[in-house]
Symmetry: C2
Subunit: 347 residues, 2 copies
């Protein structure tokens, strides 16, 4: 793997991750870009105790451009995109319309492949391994920024969840604080340690293995299951069997097995609703330990993959109960979801 | 106001709320309904510490029926709906497809008017006052059920947020626990009392009044503002000026003023995006104190009204950051939202 860091015309960072060690990355961004003006602001909600990023400059962001104006495709003569090169393997760059910027964190875009019409599930094992390298490297790099406390690598896939660019890509948010969802987990973790002397993540994974009904895949280094109290119609959690706090700490075995496991999971997601259905919209979310918390080693890196589609043609909406009271209603029993995800395994 | 409680053919409760004290409600439900079979189950998520309602029987629920088969319209010869009567003012009944039922709580439907094509904003002040009576009465009635700890009256409006019945209606959930969102508020409330000796709700409202930039309406008994850290593009919180824990405790002045204030707010919501736009999708959520908490009087009843539309034709989606990490990104500055909501006041 070769990594080449460069800058776009407006000063934003762009990093190529190449499979070949002899890749040369010297293309220059010729666009007359103004410096990025952001007015991102973090506001604290005193009643809920959380923080909201107010980012008004984003209203003008690129919205469903035609395929021949895709800002994530490689550049070609007369059509310069966000990526100056004529081709690439994996590329990461700072978002031109960031929700978080400057003192309030960082937002990056990860292009998984230069193939506009592919999706993550179409990548080869080698390509997926390169994306894992990029996620890991970005986690390490962002850990050094004083404005970043927690790194969140994720992918939103599908118009149904508001994706405005069809090119296969993900995002990386560097939050300046520990996120509320992670705070909830840390609190449960501490209470469980106090009460039982054990690690809650370890117990949750062990209990899922012992029960077995919700296991979707059981590899040498990773295990995938629908959680007992899944919030979404189809939701899978993927844990490395050796608990680590973030991507940097995965060992070689886990790194090697991850691409196969994850590609298979994504393929199964696309098969849940059967032939002739549009691709399953999903969110894939890496949970990593914040950097400056106590007992960081207690946290368990894992990936949560879920879809908002509840059945053919019908979406799960976050309406009154979910948005108003944070109480999820799930119409698909987790055991049935796991069974379906086992049924659609690749032959 | 006259209240008449009756039962549907399958045993579910149905209650008429009539403006006229001489209304006679003796229509019988002639449908051959099977008893409602529910498999609602509450599951606890050990990592997040919340509860999920798993309700698989809901997958078969009524989904965008044609207008002449609306289950919320009055019954007529040969077409029997959920409401046996040939007309009604406001009616509440137990949901045939409940997310919560039996030991795990209760779900009710509130029909705001028999006029299929109206919306809440079209109601007269008298009709809206009758809905307030119904919400209040239901809160009082559900308080007596051992399976209900917190009553949540809400309205989802718009296909965009998954509403599957066009008839103007809301819902009431009786949760068997204190909801996570309310728990967050209770925690902040306790911490603030401990630290300052004051009530956090009172301080939040007082600070909004002192600042002034986010005030939308300031009545004699109610105040409406966009909160400093609004999570949604357009979000308004409506508080009675005299703090009360739930709807039952509103005084006569607040009861009388509420319909005018709320109808005006809803009309403004419909005007945010200008002429020619479809009606603004929104969620209206009443926050009430759970029944068996300590210091119940500290809680402040209020209504939160918000839309998921961020600009003409564009929706705010809960994608990676919101769904994965519970961190909201808001593209509309709260001060700009409040200004817009003042601009579109009724003349």
């Amino acid at each position: 793997m070769k990594k080449t860091a460069t800058r776009l015309a407006d000063g934003r960072e762009l990093i190529y991750y190449d499979a070949r060690d002899d890749a040369v990355r010297d293309a220059v961004d010729p666009r007359p870009l103004d410096p990025v003006a952001t007015s991102s602001e973090i506001r604290h909600d005193r009643l809920l105790g959380d923080n909201v990023a107010v980012a008004s400059h984003r209203q003008g962001r690129t919205y469903h451009p035609p395929a021949d104006e895709c800002p994530l495709c490689p550049s070609r003569e007369g059509r310069h995109s966000e990526i100056p090169a004529a081709d690439y393997d994996v590329v990461v760059f700072e978002n031109r319309f960031p929700s978080l910027a400057g003192d309030s964190g960082r937002c990056e875009v990860v292009c998984f492949t230069s193939d506009h019409n592919a999706s993550f599930a179409d990548l080869t094992v080698e390509q997926a391994a390169l994306v894992l390298e990029a996620w890991t490297d970005r986690t390490a790099e962002l850990a050094d920024l004083p404005s970043v406390e927690q790194v969140f690598c994720f992918e939103n896939r599908g118009k149904e969840i508001g994706v405005t660019l069809g090119h296969p890509h993900g995002q990386i948010y560097g939050y300046p604080f520990t996120t509320p969802r992670t705070q909830l987990m840390l609190r449960s973790l501490a209470e469980h340690r106090e009460r039982t002397g054990r690690n809650l993540f370890d117990d949750v994974v062990a209990d899922e293995r012992a029960d077995g009904r919700r296991i979707v895949m059981d590899g040498e280094h990773w295990i995938a299951f629908v959680p007992y109290a899944a919030h979404w119609p189809y939701e899978v959690h993927l844990y490395p069997k050796r608990r680590v706090p973030d991507l940097r700490d995965l060992d070689e075995g886990a790194r090697t097995e991850f691409p196969q496991m994850y590609l298979e999971l994504l393929k199964r997601f696309d098969r849940i609703f059967g032939q002739g259905e549009p691709p399953t919209p999903y969110i894939a979310a890496w949970h990593q330990a914040p950097f400056s918390i106590a007992d960081r080693g207690e946290f368990a890196l894992h990936l949560e993959l879920f879809t908002i589609r509840r059945t053919s043609g019908k979406l799960k909406f976050l309406a009154g109960s979910e948005s108003g009271m944070n109480v999820f209603i799930n119409d698909v029993p987790p055991e049935a979801a796991a069974e379906r995800l086992r049924e659609v395994a690749s032959k």
